[in-house]
Amino acid sequence: MSVRTLRIPTRSVRMIERNAMAFRHNWMVIFSGFVEPVLYLLGIGFGIGSLVRTIPIGDGHTVSYAVFVAPALMASSAMNGAIYESTFNLFYKLRYARTFEAVISTPVGVEDATLGEVMWAIGRGSLYSVGFVIVMLALGLVASPWAILAVPASILVGFAFAALGAALTTFVRQWQDLDIIQLALQPMFLFSATFFPVTVYPPALRLLVEWTPLYRGIDLVRGLTTGGVGPGLLGDVAYLAVMGLIGVTIAALRLRSRLLK
């Protein structure tokens, strides 16, 4: 089949409604993904932070270790929420529940379903970020009024990872493949300047880390919450936006060729 241009997905909101309806039966699961970064913040941010005290953030400024770690965990929580939804849950719907086969028999098209799923995943990531930023405020870890933009920045991080997750999930054949995705995320979470600055790496490795999407997300959110705002952040925004757009396009094209046989 020739690839037609993708239709504008005006009915994507229907998938959000559907997921919200299903979610009401199973709302407890949302907490597991939220609690984890908060625990990291308490355990490492404050625990290790009591040993490290301050950390330099580029332009001569130093911040407390907890202030340094918190935005990284905020970006990570956006990633976690988005990626969990767009990998495990999407795979279940695609492979086992056959949810989309029923959906695409209606005026809701494959493009609507894809974008709707991505938006839902962003929503879950955003919920985590908002919860996390409230924790940060409560603990006095916000160092700049720019932090007001940290929430939309986290939504952008969620978009990039939701789209990446959805695109990857279209290639997944079995549950074990999802573990591979998790396996790739784990080192990215640990080493994307989450817990220590990227300056500790040798130049080649540093370049590699700087090209990972989570590093970009962390750099962006950290810049906003610590007040280290510069033009570099626009680069992060562009990176994440492009990644999200590519991901969602791949996901829609692959789902279409898979569902519209």
């Binding site: 009915r11 229907r14 309806m21 039966h25 949810t99 028999s105 209606t106 098209g109």
Partner: protein, 312 residues
């Protein structure tokens, strides 16, 4: 439904569907008129489901011309699907939602207001006799109930055309009759039905007109009565012989009927008078284990056209 007079609900000309080298539908022509119950009868693999999926606008046409409500599915997919009800071969109800929620959510997919969706959901649950199971999870329903819920779901948008892919396969006789009865009511309300089946009784019960499909092609077309008249006889005499005698029958029944069909487990004599043929068999000294006179059916039509039974 203003365009239903001008253009038929479904029209196919030289319709082809290929999957790589496999030709699933090989240049078929048919037309379904408004208000009609139209059947695709054939064994598994005949191309029925592929045809249905193309009509449902979820499978691109390889070549030929297909219009649904006079429109091209490739261009007007969403618009066409908005007027269709689809009952797929395998139930794909939403397992994460309750029975009632399945219907309400489906109404949303058709852009109906929540209040309208709830109203229709309750009406339809009553129509398919599932109102008492409204709050249950779908997984707890029996096969027949799931099928009824799938049919109710397909009616949520009050479709002009209902597509049913093997609506009663896998159901017990009671459940089948309940489904047939509900479909018959819909037909009386003027809903156009297009259904696939490999059950001849289902086709005879429900279809005004049908095509017999075999090996991706249409082998014959007509009303059940026409097809039986053309390809079968008024009556059929079924004889069963002891297994070891069956091969020796060949030739000994010649001239007793219009046509004789030797099957592995029985012999069919096509004749206008079954009783007379049975007497003639006895006069030739043959003693079948059992003999049964029945009327000609679509099963006989299929056997005549393809040399094979509908259900292998």
């Amino acid at each position: 439904m203003t365009d239903s007079i001008a253009s038929p609900p479904i029209s196919a000309r030289n319709l082809v569907k290929r999957f790589g080298d496999l030709v699933a539908v090989d240049g078929i022509d048919f037309e379904v008129a408004a208000g009609e119950a139209f059947g695709f009868l054939g064994p598994n693999g005949a191309g029925k489901t592929s045809t249905m999926r193309m009509i449902a606008c979820v499978s691109p046409v390889t070549s030929g011309r297909l219009t649904v409500f006079g429109k091209d599915p490739e261009v007007y997919g969403a618009e066409i699907r908005g007027r269709l009800g689809v009952v797929p071969q395998a139930d794909n109800l939403d397992l994460e939602l309750t029975v009632r929620e399945n219907l309400i959510m489906y109404a949303r997919y058709f852009d109906l207001a929540w209040s309208e969706g709830r109203k229709r959901a309750d009406e339809l649950l009553e129509f398919v006799q599932l109102d008492e199971r409204a709050k249950d999870k779908v997984d707890d329903l029996s096969g027949g109930m799931k099928r009824r819920l799938t049919i109710a779901r397909a009616l949520i948008n009050q479709p002009d055309l209902l597509l049913l892919d093997e609506p009663t396969t896998g159901l017990d006789p009671q459940a089948r009759h309940l489904v047939w009865e509900r479909l018959y009511r819909l037909k009386q309300r003027g809903v156009t039905l297009a259904l696939t089946t490999h059950y001849m009784d289902e086709a005879e019960q429900l279809c005004d007109r049908l095509v017999v499909m075999d090996k991706a092609k249409i082998a014959a077309e007509g009303t059940p009565r026409e097809l039986i008249a053309k390809y079968s006889t008024k009556e059929v005499l079924e004889l069963r012989f002891p297994a070891d005698e069956q091969p020796a029958i060949d030739g000994r029944l010649d001239g007793l009927a219009d046509r004789v069909e030797l099957l592995p487990d029985r012999v069919l004599l096509y004749t206008s008078d079954g009783e007379e043929a049975a007497a003639a068999v006895h006069r030739r000294g043959l003693r079948p284990e059992s003999s049964l006179v029945r009327r000609g059916t679509l099963e006989d039509v299929f056997l005549r056209l393809t040399g094979r039974s509908l259900i292998d």
